[in-house]
Amino acid sequence: MAASMLKNMIVGQNNIFRVIGYSFPHKKVCLNHYRCCTSIVHGNDNVRTEQDVKPRRPRVCRTTVSSPAHQTKDQIGQFYTVPEPIAKKVFTRGWLNPKLLQLFDTFNETSIMVRKPALEIIDLMKSANYKDPVIKYVIYGPQGTGKSTTLAHVAHYALEEDFMIIHVPWPKHIYQFPATYQESTYKEDRHDTLVESLKWMNSFRKLNQHHLEKLKTTKKCVWTKKDSSLEGTPITDLIEMGLDREKHIPDIVGMIIREVKKQAADLGLKVLVVVDGVNSLFQETTVKVAPGEFRPSSQIGLVQHFMKLLQNDWAGGAVLLTVDRNASKDDKRESDLPKYLLGKEGFAVLDPFIPFQTELYSEEEFHSCIEYFKERRWLQGEKGQTQRGIQQIRFLSGRNPYFVERACSAW
C-alpha cells in the first residue's frame, strides 16, 4: 500500500493533485465505488494492509449436514443446501429478500450459510419446555446481516420437527393501502383488510395443511342470521366457508388464531410464530383521522389478531421476531436496536424476550463466502480470483453479507 502510494506520487504526480484538490463542478461526479478505491491509492488510514486480510487456515465452504437440528459450531461459516420440499415452503417470496431468491434461481440450488444466531436459537428451541408460556426470540442487526435468512433457517428446523408455522411476512403490507379498509361488523373501533386476510389465510392453509385437521372450534359463532357454526367444527370447514363468503374472512382469521392459542399445548401442537419486522405492528398508518393525527395500526383487525400471539398467555410454541429499521417510519430509522425501534408500547408488549444480534461476516465467514461464489461462478475472471481482487471486494463490501454479494456481482 505505502509503496504504491509513493510510486503514484512520483510517477503520476499530476494525478493526485487533480483528483484530490481540484473539484469538477461542471461534471456530475460519480458517487460510486471508484472513488472509494482511489482513496486506497492516496493512503486511507482505514484500509487494512494485506497481512490482515490473509485467511488463517484453508476451509471447506460447503457442508453436507443439511438438517439444522444436527448442525453445530463446526459448521459455522459453511453453506448447506436446503432440500427442495422445504425450500418451496420456507425459502420463497415473503420470507426472503428478492435478490437472494434470484441468486437461488441463478445457482439452481437453495444454499445458505450456517451462522451463529440461528444455531443459538435452534439450541434454545431444542431445550425449551413447550408446556410453559411461549418464549420470544428477537433478532436485530444492521441491514444486510441476515435477519430474514436466520428466520428461514430456524423455520427449516421447525418444519423438520413438525411445528405449525404462523408466518406474518411484513406487517406494513397489511395496513399499507387505506383503500382496502372496511369497518368491522364484529367489533367497534376495528377496521378489516379483506385482501390481506385472504392472502394470509391461503398461505397459512398451504403451510399447515396436515395440522389443521386436529383443530376444532370451542365456541359457537354466529356469522349472519342464517349462518352459524357450532362448537366443534373443524377449522378446515371454516376456511372453506370463508372462501365462499369473503365477507367473513377477517373474523375467521381471528377465530383460527384464538383456537391455536387455546389448544396448542393441550393438543401437543408446537407452534412457531414468525414475524419479520415486528416493529411495524406498533406504528401509525398513513390514514388521517384528524388534522395531524393518524390512525394507529392497533385499530386494524389483522394487527390485533397477530398482537394476541405476541402475548405471554399461551403455551405450546415459540415466537420468532425480527426488528428491522426499514419496518419503521422514515423519521425513526436512526438505530437498529430493539428498544429504540419498538418504542415504549412495543417493548411493553414484547418484554421479556431474548435478543440475538446478527453481525457482519467474520474473516472466516467472509472467505468461505468468497470460496462459495467462486465455485458457483458468481465471482470469476482471472482478476477476481487474485488476492488483490478479494482485498478490493472486502474493502467495498465491509464484510456486510448483502454487499459482499453485490460487490461480487460486478466481477
Partner: protein, 201 residues
Amino acid sequence: MAQKGMTKPHPTLDLDALETTVTDMQSGKYKRKTVRYAESDQSTVLTHDQIVRKFIVLIMKGGNKDTARRIMDKTMEEIKRRQVREFHRATESQKLQIITDPRKIFNQAVNNLKPVLLVTSVKRGGIAYQVPVPCPEKRQLFEAMKIIKAALAEKTNSRIPFHEKLATIIMDAAEFKGKAMDRKIEILKNCERNRAYAHFK
C-alpha cells in the same frame, strides 16, 4: 476535455504494473516524468475496463455519467446472471463451452461487430456518391459501439428495462446474431452494392 499535456503518456491503472517499477524509480529513471491526468471515472478496481468505459461515455445522455455507469453495471450483471444460470442447468460437456465472464462476452460482441468497410459520401460533378472505404482499426471500435447504440434506439412494443435490452443485444452479437449483427450486415451489403464507386476514393 482540452487539457494541457494531451500528448503525454496515460497514467497506469494496473496496480501490479505500478508495483513492479519501484526498483526503477530508485535508479532515478522516473524522476521528472509527467503523466496525463486520470479521469474521474477511471479507477484501479480490477473490474475497470477501458473499452467498457468508452461504451459508457457513448450511452451517456446529458452528462449523466452516473446513470450510464449504473446501467452498464446492471447490464454486466444481467449477462453474467443469464450465463451462470444456463451453466448450472447444463450438462458437463455443455459447461465447457459456456463463457460466464461478462467482460469476455462484451469484448467478443464488439469484435464481431467491427466493420471492415464503411461508406462515405463523395461529391463528383454535383452528385453525392456513397463510396465504400476501408475502416481504419482505431475507428472500428467506435463503429462497433455505434452499431450497438443504434440497435438500442429501436423501439419495441413491450417495456423491457434498458439494461436487459442491452444485455440481449450484446449476448446476441457475441454469437453473430441479433439486431446489432443485422445492422452490421446491412452496412457491409451497402458497401457491396456501391463497389463500382470504390475507385472514387
